[in-house]
């Protein structure tokens, strides 16, 4: 019989990826719009981009890990179509926001 559900880590880190893709775009807008945010990010590691990468990787791992722990307790399973829509929507949406921001707003 065919298995139609995802593993819990696939669901958890998929949702984390989608959230991080949109959060990444939001951080770009915040950094470019506010000198205070840009300066703070610059101060933390010495370069705003290094801070940006480290922050996004940390959020991806932390959110995926915590969702995975929560899923293990609740036994909930995200449906396949929903997960694909969340992942594709988050990634494409996040990248389109970045392109649009530099094209029209910056």
């Amino acid at each position: 019989m065919e298995n139609r559900s995802f593993s819990k880590s696939t669901s958890s880190f998929g949702i984390s990826l989608a959230v991080c893709a949109v959060l990444n775009a939001a951080l770009v807008i915040a950094k470019e719009s506010s000198k205070i945010v840009a300066d703070r990010m610059q101060k933390i590691t010495g370069h705003h981009w290094t801070t940006h990468v480290l922050f996004m990787v940390a959020v991806f791992v932390a959110l995926g890990w915590s969702l995975n722990r929560k899923n293990n307790q609740t036994d909930s399973v995200t449906s396949s179509t929903t997960l694909i829509r969340i992942v594709v929507g988050g990634v494409v949406g996040g990248i389109v926001i970045i392109f649009g921001f530099y094209l029209f707003a910056d």
Partner: protein
């Protein structure tokens, strides 16, 4: 010597595209026999992407400011203002996407067609976004080149 860093960045980026494409094609024909290859090639995709970002990031933080000045004084300032600004940020999403590929491919794809569909989407997005990154890189390099050519001798 410094330029080898930049070449390594491009080579690892190309490795990421090729291995993700491999995952895509193998997943279209996922069986028990190629399951190990899909898993290892998805790990190779993530590894190549991490190496490309580490090497490219080192270049960007330490050496890029000189290139940036040449680009901004040359006839193609958009090579930095648009293409570098977008590239340095959407590659972060690409890094997370490539890191997610081995997680998505950890399921038995031959027995689970829905999981295989997710892997196809993720691998396909890695290929498209990484090709965009390569294209952006080419425009940034061309921006430096036309900036140097435009300098008075």
């Amino acid at each position: 010597m410094i330029e080898t860093i930049l070449m390594a960045h491009v080579i690892f980026g190309s490795g990421c595209i090729l291995s993700a494409l491999w995952v895509l094609v193998d997943t279209l024909n996922a069986t028990e026999a190629n399951a190990w290859r899909i898993k290892w090639m998805s790990r190779a995709t993530a590894l190549c992407m991490w190496l490309a970002v580490l090497v490219g990031g080192y270049w960007y933080v330490v050496f890029y400011h000189a290139d940036k000045a040449i680009i901004l004084q040359g006839p193609w300032p958009f090579a930095h203002n648009y293409f570098m600004e977008t590239k340095e940020h959407f590659v972060i999403t690409l890094l997370l996407l490539a890191s997610y590929l081995p997680i998505a491919a950890s399921t038995n794809l031959a027995a689970n067609k829905e999981a295989a569909r997710l892997v196809l989407w993720v691998a396909g997005m890695v290929v498209v976004v990484a090709l965009m990154a390569e294209g952006h890189g080419a425009i940034i390099s061309a921006g430096v080149k036309v900036g140097l050519l435009a300098k008075p001798h």
